[in-house]
């Protein structure tokens, strides 16, 4: 009898959970469906069955040069992530394996830079960028994205590195391994999973960053966030095309995101929840 109610309740819970999940996912699903509709279809009342045209995807490329902002997004998110890792890996390594009394303070201070409201430094950054000719350049935006995500990257790496047992390093040291060998042969293999997770999460964060990318770019270096935001004032009927552009903009990161659920929790809570 007990088992029977369990199966029954499992079915009930399953139905409720699926309904909730589909409601939450619906806006994304509907955008994807709309991207395969023709423009008149897109505004012709509710329908989940598109006529299945690929025209919008082609039009977005031919009329709006979709590939350019897409490549900007790729370059900016991957570039800034690699740059952030180059800065953060040594720092996190030092904090995890050679901690001093001040390590905690440094970590907290780094975290505090993440809390500075971006808008508070909008003008100085804008003026500096203008004076140094960095406005609307990939280099400028890469630097910007590196800096705003660096604290998260250091923190995340730190929480991963801290889990690597220190004894292994001691043992390597006893065996006469130099510091360099210690890093290359002992630490790196153990650190790769943590670094990969950090890389993944940071690419997602950089791809979706929508304040600085919109403020500091116009056309040349504009990534997808700025490109899509430029559709905000509707001229004519273009929802199907907007949906196609949106679908292409979110698809790669959505898929990356599905693989990084655990890292997301860890990275965004600065290791406070694992």
């Amino acid at each position: 009898m007990a088992r029977k109610t369990t199966t029954q309740s499992k079915i009930v819970w399953t139905v409720i959970a699926w309904v909730v999940a589909l409601v939450i996912f619906f806006p994304i699903l509907y955008a994807v469906i709309t991207s395969f509709k023709t423009e008149p279809e897109a505004i012709d009342g509710f329908s989940l069955i598109p006529s299945g045209t690929f025209e919008n995807y082609i039009t977005v490329q031919t009329q709006r040069d979709y590939f350019k902002p897409f490549m900007n997004s790729v370059v900016l998110s991957i570039g800034s992530t690699i740059l952030a890792l180059i800065f953060a890996i040594p720092a996190a390594w030092a904090m995890a394996f050679a901690p001093t009394k001040r390590t905690k303070d440094v970590l907290m201070w780094m975290l505090s830079t993440k809390m500075m409201p971006a808008v508070a430094v909008l003008l100085p950054i804008y003026i500096l960028f203008r004076n140094f000719g960095l406005l609307d350049t990939r280099i400028g935006l890469t630097i910007m994205l590196t800096l705003i995500n660096l604290p998260i990257v250091v923190w995340m790496l730190y929480t991963y590195f801290r889990e690597i047992p220190g004894e292994i390093l001691e043992a390597a040291r006893m065996d006469g391994a130099s510091l360099w060998k210690e890093i290359v042969y002992v630490l790196t293999p153990m650190a790769v999973p943590g670094i990969a997770s950090t890389l993944l999460l940071n690419i997602i964060l950089a791809w979706n960053e929508a304040f600085w990318t919109i403020q500091l770019s116009t056309t040349n270096a504009a990534p997808l966030t700025a490109f899509i935001a430029s559709f905000s004032s509707p001229q004519g009927l273009f929802w199907a095309k907007l949906s196609a552009a949106s679908t292409m903009a979110i698809a790669p990161i959505l898929i990356l995101g599905w693989f990084s659920q655990k890292q997301l929790v860890r990275g965004l809570t600065f290791g406070a929840v694992k």
Binding site: M115, L122, A229
Partner: protein, 290 residues
């Protein structure tokens, strides 16, 4: 323990990150502070003069300022309310044994990975549009007059969009915390005849308290800076009805070319963010000691 050599090396290894962040924090912030005391408009860059506290006074006496503070508060509290309560409910739901749990989880967390302009435009055009949106279709189906969400309830509409984006984050963290709840404790409580409500109040909720704190604090940091969602939907309007502090400063600085005024607003935003940050640091810092 660590030799002097190691310590020096450790410092060298930390230096690039520390210096980069120091420069990133100190230079722009000092510039903001400096500008906040200047009369400086980008349209008349030759007329820069010392303005004392004029910019602060200007910001403080601007009726839009209090509207913006109020809107910021409503936005943050509204989104937090929806996401924390919704996150607990959905977390509990996903913690049940269900068929296809993995897929359900993926569907639920997906909105978090949608970039803000896309999220806002989907909601604006396809869900909440007064003539072509899904809500309008539903209203017509029931024979009700469709609502023009962004004109009639602009702030509420922004709250809905932002809550949709952040609900997955709250759900994911609270679910992670729920899953770490000791199964034996749950069983013991069940054996003792504690019903669902009592188990929730006396066992689950205390266990979740830390995770809830973390969700509230981290979301607050991000919610204070909501910008793109407002830009592409209401553009802060009608009037200042959906302008938060971030958007007001952006308006002053970039649309009004008022460097001094924008800087003063920025300093006010820094002070407010610091108050929140203070509590966040304490919560996260505690965890470090463990």
């Amino acid at each position: 323990m660590a030799t002097q050599n190691t310590k020096t090396l450790a410092r060298l290894m930390m230096a690039p990150s520390v210096i980069a962040l120091l420069v990133w924090m100190v230079i722009p912030l000092s510039m903001t502070l400096y500008y906040s005391f200047q009369n400086y408009n980008l349209l008349t860059p030759q007329n820069v003069s010392f303005g004392g506290f004029f910019n602060y006074q200007y910001f403080y006496t601007d009726p839009a300022f209090f509207t913006a503070i109020w809107n910021t508060l409503i936005l943050v509290v509204g989104v937090l309310g929806i996401t924390v309560i919704g996150g607990i409910a959905i977390g509990l739901l996903l913690d049940q044994p269900i068929f296809g749990q993995g897929i359900v989880r993926i569907l639920v967390i997906s909105p978090f990975f949608v970039m803000p302009p896309v999220a806002a435009l989907i909601w604006k055009n396809m869900i909440m549009h007064p003539s072509y949106g899904v809500f309008a279709d539903i209203a017509r189906f029931f024979g009700v007059q469709p609502i023009d969400w962004f004109a009639q309830y602009p702030l509420f509409s922004v709250i809905v969009i932002v809550a949709w984006q952040w609900l997955p984050f709250a759900t994911l963290i609270l679910l992670t915390a729920l899953q770490s709840l000791d199964g034996e404790q749950k069983e013991a409580a069940e054996m003792d005849g504690a019903n669902f409500v009592n188990r929730f109040i006396y066992l689950t909720l205390p266990h979740l308290s830390r995770a809830i704190t973390v969700v509230i604090l981290i979301q607050t940091i991000f919610l204070l800076g909501i910008y793109a969602e407002i830009l592409v939907t209401t553009n802060g309007g009608p009037g200042y009805a959906s302008t938060n502090l971030t958007f007001l400063i952006y308006r002053t600085a970039r649309l009004g070319y008022d460097v001094g005024g924008g800087a003063a607003g920025g300093i006010i935003a820094v002070v407010l963010a610091n108050i929140v940050a203070f509590f966040l640091m304490r919560a996260v810092g505690k965890n470090l000691d463990k």
